[in-house]
Assembly symmetry: C2
Homo-oligomer: 148 residues x 2
DNA sequence: AAACTACTTTACGTTTACGTAAACTTTATC
DNA sequence: GATAAAGTTTACGTAAACGTAAAGTAGTTT
């Protein structure tokens, strides 16, 4: 077997760089459902996947409530009737639209960063030019000073 | 002139589908800097651009504080010395890395949605098959009913 | 002039996503 | 068997991003 079957709370915390507090909070909000040995939580690899999804959701701007909704819906869907399945399909459509929006946003942001960077470099070039005019003999000294 | 030079708070609120409360809050947090005629706020087209950026930032999971930081930094940069310019360049690098991460996240999400959708469709096909076995003569009626 | 509409400030309330502290139990280690 | 290390519950605190109510002003329509 390549992957472990169970995980402790601190293992997961370390792997995904979150606090144990966060993980317990996610359980409290019913996004994770670890079993117990005594009091101690035992996380399955399914929980591990879910944690990964939670964090990705966060990076994509999803709230925990939204993520939970998706989890619940998917659970229902698996054991689901036709209505559930169709509902899931329309929800998937909506999410796809959201992703498209995000891709557009990112593309826009990238373009603006391109022009921002260009302006920065122009301004830097301007400064360099002025410096050279002021002290044209001091070229080497300046360049090494910049690299410290 | 194609674009208006100034905007009222409700104009912007309507255009971008946010509440006036939000806009005032953004001003309070110093992300927008409308001028005044008496008490009434007058927003410039620069403010309008900023509002657009704020909202895009939100969709991309940025906090208002992060966005404000970028605004401030950019303002400093424009009138900036060399140090500011270099700082901005490294920050741009970081943001690019963030965007890469987001693109990866989106690509992953899209793949998972593909498999999720496929499973849904399989499950649906299964259900259809069972239905046919139960009532094989009722085919036409079912298909039209589905399209309502 | 009265009423309506859009705008304003002040200020308290709410939700989300945890942080942090306190006090306790269980498990591993020397 | 003491002690540290990791885990637990309970509970109060907090920052962010507004919502919402109250009460007032400024212009404009009837």
């Amino acid at each position: 077997m390549d992957i472990k079957q169970t995980y402790s709370i601190s293992e997961l915390a370390k792997e995904f760089d979150v606090t144990t507090r966060s993980i317990r909070f996610y359980e409290d909000q019913e996004l994770l459902r670890p079993t117990r040995r005594g009091q101690t939580r035992i996380f399955s690899s399914k929980d591990r996947v879910r944690l990964k999804l939670i964090l990705r959701g966060k990076r994509m701007g999803f709230s925990l409530a939204e993520t939970k909704e998706l989890f619940d819906l998917w659970d229902e869907t698996l054991s689901g009737n036709e209505k559930q399945l169709l509902k899931m399909l329309t929800i998937l459509e909506n999410k796809r639209a959201q992703l498209e929006q995000q891709k557009n946003d990112i593309a826009q942001a990238e373009m603006e960063m391109d022009t921002a960077e260009a302006r920065c470099r122009e301004a830097l070039a301007e400064l360099q030019k002025k410096k050279k005019q002021q002290a044209p003999a001091n070229d080497e000294a300046r360049q090494t000073a910049e690299h410290k």
